[in-house]
């Protein structure tokens, strides 16, 4: 075996190139333009996180900070918010990592732990609502407002994310798009916290989960095609 040859390199050195291959190589090389190397995936993820944070800060003047402070004193609400933030960060890092060829697809497992925290803490809040009488629960009107907020924030965040991911070359476009959807949905859920003036109920939680699922599915379908087309 020649030096450096791997076990996969089974073609003989003098294996004939086909004319089509030669033509394609000449076409690609003939039309070559210099490209700017993409920054590291983690840096690009950080840029998206900064954009999401900027959106959050822009919305902050409309939030009831006193009520937010009171809700953050409750452990499950605090952990649910933390879980959503961590999920958004972990999923966006995983999405950018999987968009670069040669990076391990195990990055897709990164958001699992934050997702568990997010779902677990939200579920605990829901349980508390059942156990403790007189908890501040949402009516249908408020829940509808939450759904509208989640969708309104998720869609632009998803679009920005897909636009950024398209600059790379996701080899598993559906996986990358699903991670992008999870990230956008989690970021929207985290941004909703300052505007969510009540505890989580089972209906509330189910609706949130439905919206998050819709965002992920929408990203997988539309984003997967957009990313795969390149």
């Amino acid at each position: 075996m020649a030096p450096g040859r791997t076990s996969e390199d089974t073609t003989m050195p003098d294996a004939p190139r086909t004319p089509a291959q030669d033509r394609l190589v000449d076409t690609l090389a003939g039309g070559l333009r210099p490209v700017r190397r993409l920054p590291a995936p983690s840096l690009r993820a950080l840029a998206w996180c900064a954009a999401a944070l900027g959106l959050g800060l822009a919305l902050m003047p409309f939030a009831d900070l006193e009520a937010l402070r009171a809700r953050m004193a409750v452990a499950d609400l605090r952990y649910a918010a933390l879980g959503a933030v961590l999920t958004a960060v972990a999923a966006v890092v995983a999405a950018f990592q999987t968009s670069v060829p040669g990076r391990s697809s195990a990055w897709a497992l990164l958001p699992l732990a934050p997702v568990a925290l997010w779902i677990g803490a939200s579920g605990a809040g829901c349980l508390r609502d059942w156990v403790v009488p007189g908890a501040d629960s949402a009516d249908m009107h408020q829940t509808g407002g939450c759904v509208a907020f989640l969708l309104t924030v998720s869609i632009p965040l998803s679009l920005v994310l897909v636009w950024m991911l398209r600059r790379a070359c996701p080899l598993r476009p559906n996986l990358t798009a699903a991670l992008a959807g999870l990230s956008a949905a989690a970021a929207a859920a985290a941004l909703l916290v300052p505007f969510h003036p009540h505890d989580a109920t089972a209906t509330d939680l189910a609706l949130h989960a439905l919206v998050v699922g819709l965002v992920i599915a929408g990203n997988s379908l539309a984003g997967g095609r957009l990313l795969g087309r390149g």
Binding site: P3, E8, M12, P13, Q21, L24, V25, G102
Partner: protein, 241 residues
């Protein structure tokens, strides 16, 4: 400089062949500069891609050509059928072109290339799997000719080889030598005469007798026992010439 070279490489003795042991194109810009000779295979490819990112078309052309057999080998290792390898190679070339901005020259090149090739090979195999086949059409299915060897082909061939080997082994010494050297190993009469110490005339006679004996032994109506042996003379009592 055509191909960017990372600093500080250990320099082995210059090689006349490229990173993979293939003859290197004399047109390769890095060959002219003698730069790639001093690199490991992966470093050479990484340097080529770095130059391509900077817009060096000649380095890019050389890189893609160097990659062609590597991609084909990887695709075959992935299980792509030989007739589809060319399609996978072209898909991979297009993906390399599209993804060239994602390559980080500080990282090894081959894992990047392997990831692209594996994915494109899987995509191609999936597409081939989804393509409708005529197995849903009973008439087309019945009429389909399988161009591959029949399942029992290998067994039959092995049986034939075994019978022939037994029959040849059962021949008298001179006839066996004539068959082995002249017929099986396709040596010339002169070579065989020199090797066996027999005259060319004797070899011709032995070959003629041996072929006659083999025809009788392996022809229709013969049994395995015929091939297995018996006395080292044929039915007419012919011995070596």
């Amino acid at each position: 400089m055509a191909c960017a070279v990372p600093a500080g490489h250990v320099l082995p003795a210059p090689r006349a062949r490229d990173a993979f042991g293939w003859p290197r194109s004399p047109r390769h810009p890095a060959v002219r500069g003698g730069l790639l000779e001093r690199m490991t295979p992966d470093q050479a490819l990484a340097a080529g891609m770095a130059a391509a990112q900077a817009g060096d078309a000649e380095a890019y052309r050389c890189l893609l050509r160097d990659c062609l057999p590597v991609i084909a080998g990887m695709a075959r290792a992935q299980g792509v059928r030989p007739e589809a390898v060319d399609d996978v190679v072209q898909d991979v070339l297009l993906t390399i072109h599209r993804a060239r901005a994602t390559y980080d020259p500080a990282r090894p090149f081959l894992p990047w290339l392997r990831a692209i090739t594996q994915r494109r090979a899987i995509d191609r195999m999936r597409r081939a799997g989804r393509r409708p086949r005529e197995v849903h059409d009973p008439i087309a299915y019945e009429a389909e000719v399988d161009r591959g060897p029949a399942p029992e082909h290998g067994l039959e061939a092995r049986d034939r080889q075994r019978s022939l080997a037994r029959a040849v082994a059962a021949l008298p010494e001179g006839q066996r030598q004539a068959v082995e050297h002249l017929a099986l190993q396709e040596r010339s009469l002169d070579e065989t005469a020199a090797l066996t110490g027999r005259s060319k005339g004797a070899l011709k006679v032995n070959l003629h007798r041996a072929l006659k004996a083999l025809r009788r032994t392996l022809g229709p109506g013969s049994t395995d026992q015929d091939a297995a042996g018996g006395p080292r003379t044929d039915e007419r009592g012919h011995h070596d010439a």
